[in-house]
């Protein structure tokens, strides 16, 4: 029996349908909650979010994996209400987007303590919400190199993944050698790790895609839609055609069974303006048509959006 933790309970992977594997209901850096610049009324937050989830559902989307870490405005009660009212499965994460988003209580903590936190959130629940985390988020801090804190978080995540069977999503796939060493040392199969943002404009040139694949890791093309063609693209944007060309190249090399795709969009950003014109529905409106144009067949598209994520998200303890 396959099991996936969603905010409304554990479900069989067979129910997931199309999965957006790396998204955000709303992301904000820790401390942004103190700056009223970004505050939104609940009316506005729901108004910005519900139509996007509804459209996602209408497009055939089944499951939304929220990759918002513990201190980044993760709001599980809110996710529960969104999921219940839109019918979209929402998977919440434990972990941190990167060491630089872990607040002092966690940044000072030992690997053992961090692992206990992650395991608790996956097996018992997040806070008093009753909802269990379904994935573990880790990441590389700003600066391009894994910091000592990043490494502690990766190691704790690895231990939690081994114990619980939950998969790990990474923010950035740069500097992956220390990560792979840690995962190997902890006895975690790299098949349980999605090395994410391998496609973003800033980091794709310094991400060793082939090496990650050769180690057995999964590769995330999960910033689809942050295109430089947008009116006000973010600094991690990339030319639309270049991203797709890169992606097709990896598919043609036979990597499709290890590739996962998503849009990393914010339904309603919490601590930053967001990127106008980019939503999760880029997956249906632009990414899939572009894939078809580029010659990727429907079986492969199903593999990318349904089979791979179902296998990845299933708890494998």
């Amino acid at each position: 029996m396959t099991k996936v933790n969603t905010v409304l309970g554990t479900i069989p992977a067979e129910e997931l349908e199309i999965v957006a594997v790396h998204e955000h209901i709303g992301y904000g850096m820790p401390g942004s909650e103190l700056d009223t610049t970004w505050w939104k009324s609940p009316e506005q937050a729901y108004e910005e979010t519900v139509p996007k989830l509804r459209k996602f559902r209408e497009n055939g989307g089944g499951t939304f994996v929220d990759a918002t870490g513990i201190c980044n405005g993760r709001d599980v009660d809110y996710y529960k209400s969104l999921s219940a009212k839109t019918g979209v499965h929402i998977v919440a994460c434990t972990g941190f987007v990167g060491g630089d988003t872990a607040l002092p209580h966690f940044s000072r903590a030992t690997v053992d303590y961090l692992a206990k936190v992650f395991i608790h959130e996956i097996t018992v629940g997040i806070g008093n919400t009753g909802a269990k985390a379904g994935v573990i988020k880790v990441g590389v801090s700003r600066g391009g190199r894994m910091t000592d804190l990043d490494r502690r978080i990766y190691r704790a995540a690895a231990r939690a993944a081994v114990v619980t069977g939950a998969p790990i999503l990474t923010h950035l796939a740069i500097d992956p050698e220390p990560a792979v060493t840690i995962f190997n040392e902890e006895g975690l199969s790299l098949d349980r790790v999605l090395f994410g943002h391998a496609d973003d404009g800033l980091n794709a040139p310094i991400t060793p895609h082939d090496w990650i694949y050769e180690q057995g890791g999964r590769i995330g093309f999960d910033t689809f839609g942050y295109d430089l063609e947008l009116p006000d693209p973010p600094f991690w944007g990339r030319k639309r055609a270049e991203r797709m060309e890169h992606f097709v190249n990896l598919v043609n090399k036979g990597y499709a069974d290890k590739l996962l795709v998503s849009a990393d969009a914010n339904c309603s950003p919490l601590g930053w303006p967001g990127v106008k014109g980019h939503t999760i529905n880029y997956i249906f409106e632009d990414m899939i048509p572009d894939m078809r144009t580029a010659g990727i067949d429907d079986a492969t598209i199903k593999l990318l959006l349904e089979d791979n994520p179902a296998e990845f998200l299933s708890l494998q303890a």
């Binding site: 820790p30 401390g31 607040l103 608790h120 018992v124």
Partner: protein, 336 residues
């Protein structure tokens, strides 16, 4: 030990009418402050601890503990307590309002943040390329709005005005972002009239000079932690510049890094003798409820009920005792 009951009429000496202090229940006449504990913590939460599965944040339990401690403070003559933890270390404005209403103790809450280690990534590695940490002007704006528009209940609402802006430098020495925090706090004070409370890093006079460099009058600044052993003799230098001298770990007698109360008393009496009685601030730096850190259960009343009588027994005059407990905090906290 005599427990002087609080005087209902409050202190009316040396406090011109119209001067006010910001409390969580609104501005009050400065003359009503009475005996003040200037550097304390009510609910003190290491940032992030509120999300930890092993830490309980039971509001009824927190309220009951704090209410008991505030009642004890009041029984010993305390009238006003300053929660000097800033805006990102567990401050809970609505809880403090309820506590103040329930216990009758005036509560002054603070804005500000620091040291850098305690900041969220929003201020240190913002989503820009490169991720440039916040400059002084942005901190000044953030803190000032907590006075002019009200303190934040994150992502929900603003409430009453902050009465103090507080910041801290790293023990290893002030970092560039901490310099921005200190300058931002000084500008907040200049703009809004609330005082600044700084806790120095490696060098008290250097850190004080950073806020004075913003042309903030020294009598708007409290330099805390001057009973640290590594403060050397900075207390005299701080008083000499005209700033308030925070001897604010009173009651801490078993820490190698701090003076004992015996030595603190000598420091206080020495400052009085040097003519600085009007610059001395005493407090206990106790923690009402600690989360994510060890408890520190010193009663909020320790200064007024134990340490000041000890000072008096060693020659402190009643007049100077009153100055230290009532007049100096009032002069510091009055919005100017």
């Amino acid at each position: 030990m005599s427990h002087t009951p609080p005087v209902a009429a409050g202190d009316t000496f040396h406090a011109p009418t119209g001067q006010t202090v910001n409390t969580v229940l609104g501005p009050i006449p400065a003359s009503e402050l009475g005996v003040v504990a200037v550097h304390e913590a009510l609910l003190s939460v290491i940032p992030g601890a509120q999300y930890a599965p092993d830490i309980s944040m039971d509001r009824t339990e927190i309220f009951e503990i704090l209410a008991g401690k505030l009642a004890g403070f009041r029984e010993h003559g305390g009238r006003t307590i300053v929660d000097s933890t800033g805006m990102f270390h567990g401050r809970d404005v609505k809880l403090y309002e309820a506590l103040s209403r329930s216990t009758g103790v005036h509560i002054v809450a603070s804005t500000g943040m620091g040291p850098e280690e305690m900041l969220g990534g929003y201020f240190l590695t913002p989503q820009t390329n490169p991720p440039t940490p916040w400059p002084a002007g942005k901190f000044a704006d953030l803190f000032s709005k907590e006075v002019t528009e009200g303190m934040v209940v994150p992502r929900v609402e603003r409430r009453g005005a902050a009465g103090l802006v507080t910041t801290t430098a790293a023990r290893t020495g002030m970092t560039p972002t901490e310099e921005s925090l200190f300058r931002g706090a000084a500008r907040t004070s200049l703009k809004t009239g609330i005082p600044v409370s700084i806790r120095f890093g490696a060098d008290a006079l250097h850190d004080l000079d950073i806020v004075l460099d913003e042309e903030l009058p020294a009598d708007r600044v409290l330099v805390g932690g001057l009973d640290r052993k590594d403060a050397d003799s900075a207390a005299l230098g701080v008083a000499g510049r005209g700033a308030f001298v925070g001897i604010d770990n009173v009651g801490l007698n078993d820490h190698a890094g701090y003076l004992t109360d015996h030595d603190r008393a000598e420091l206080v009496l020495g400052l009085v003798k040097a003519g600085h009685a009007d610059k001395i601030i005493l407090s206990g730096n106790s923690i009402g409820v600690a989360k994510g850190q060890p408890d520190y259960d010193l009663p909020f009343s320790h200064v007024v009920s134990t340490f000041v009588p000890f000072l008096k027994a060693h020659g402190l005059s009643d007049e100077d005792a009153r100055r230290i407990l009532v007049d100096n905090p009032r002069n510091l906290l009055t919005v100017r």
